[in-house]
């Protein structure tokens, strides 16, 4: 699979993401500087974590207008798979590709801790291989992960089964005590209605080997790769005929 990772000034999880997809999963990964105009051929575009533009104005607000983003938006609206992690999630929300916004953590602390996530749906490329209610452990590292959406948007997210992960306790209870940042409804990750754009605050790319404390992130990345292979492969075969 051809994976493009967009690098913004201030991205800092770009190399972790490259390592996870390239070195661990053996995919064809290319880094793209945000000043590029054209995305070119890609099966998956990743907006990595970090602090693009120093989080000036609002997190993701500047990156959303980077030259490459016109091409990323076109790719996403044409059904291409786009995955935003942490700052990437914030950028996708700012760009209006995902609903809602990410605000300052309610506790006002920068939270860099492992969290437990409860898988809320398996109807997404990212969670296809998981079980509903499965608990995953991976780190968060953010100061602005407090997900907010108005009542109508939240109802839509629930009705359309677009909530991927919620912060939970290790035994799967979704309660305020398990919420590290004040996110509405304990939301940690969502996808769009078409299910080709997804964003999450926790870092699966930083939880891909037991030596770093968890390899639960790898389950998500593998699920994503298998979903891609099952959608891209028939397309290629069709094109070859």
């Amino acid at each position: 699979m051809k994976i493009k990772i967009v690098v913004f000034p201030g991205s800092n999880c770009d190399h972790d993401t490259e390592y996870a997809f390239g070195s661990i999963l053996g995919q064809d990964v290319e880094m793209m500087w945000h000043q590029e105009q054209h995305l070119g051929n890609a099966d998956l575009v990743i907006l990595p974590g970090g602090f693009s533009y120093g989080d000036y104005l609002r997190t993701g607000a500047m990156a959303r207008y980077s030259p490459i983003m016109t091409s990323v938006e076109r790719f996403a609206r044409d059904g291409g798979m786009v995955f935003g992690i942490c700052n990437g999630f914030q950028i996708l929300c700012e760009a209006g590709l995902l609903p809602g916004a990410l605000m300052k953590n309610a506790c006002l602390q920068f939270r860099s801790v492992p969290v437990h996530l409860r898988v809320e749906t398996t109807r997404s490329p990212l969670t296809k291989q998981l079980a509903q209610g499965q608990i995953l452990t991976m780190p968060i590292a953010h100061g602005d992960g407090n997900y907010y959406a108005d009542h109508t948007t939240l109802t839509e997210l629930v009705d359309e089964d677009c909530i991927l992960f919620r912060y939970a306790t290790s035994d799967g209870l979704v309660i305020p005590e398990a919420n590290p940042n004040g996110s509405l409804f304990n939301i940690a990750g969502i996808c769009n209605k078409q299910r080709n754009i997804f964003g999450m605050m926790p870092h699966p790319e930083r939880a891909c080997e037991p030596v770093v404390g968890s390899s639960d992130g790898l389950i998500l990345l593998r699920s994503l790769m298998e979903s891609l292979e099952s959608t891209v492969q028939p397309r290629l075969e069709k094109a070859a005929v």
Binding site: L57, Y65, A101, M103, K104, N105, A106, Y148, A149, G182
Partner: protein, 82 residues
């Protein structure tokens, strides 16, 4: 022309920064302060003296960049036309 754009969190949106500032005031003994909310001010200079031209331009900038309409609202204040 000079202008100001004031961006605030919507009243319905929780403002943890404003709350922290309020709590600091409480600790400092400013007991008359009841409530604080934090916002942003942008001072902008525009190469035009026509309010009719400037207002829609600033409105566009505020809507597209300076404020996130999901969580924020804004007010535009135009300076004197010279």
């Amino acid at each position: 022309m000079k202008a100001k754009i004031i961006v605030r969190l919507k009243q319905t949106v929780h403002d943890p920064q404003g709350e922290a500032i309020f709590q600091a005031f409480q600790h400092m003994g400013y007991s008359k302060i009841n409530h604080v909310r934090q916002g942003k001010i942008f001072d902008i200079e525009i190469n035009s003296n026509s309010a009719a031209e400037v207002r829609p331009l600033l409105d566009e900038l505020a809507r597209k960049v300076l404020a996130n309409p999901i969580i924020e609202e804004y007010v535009i204040e135009l300076g004197e036309e010279s």
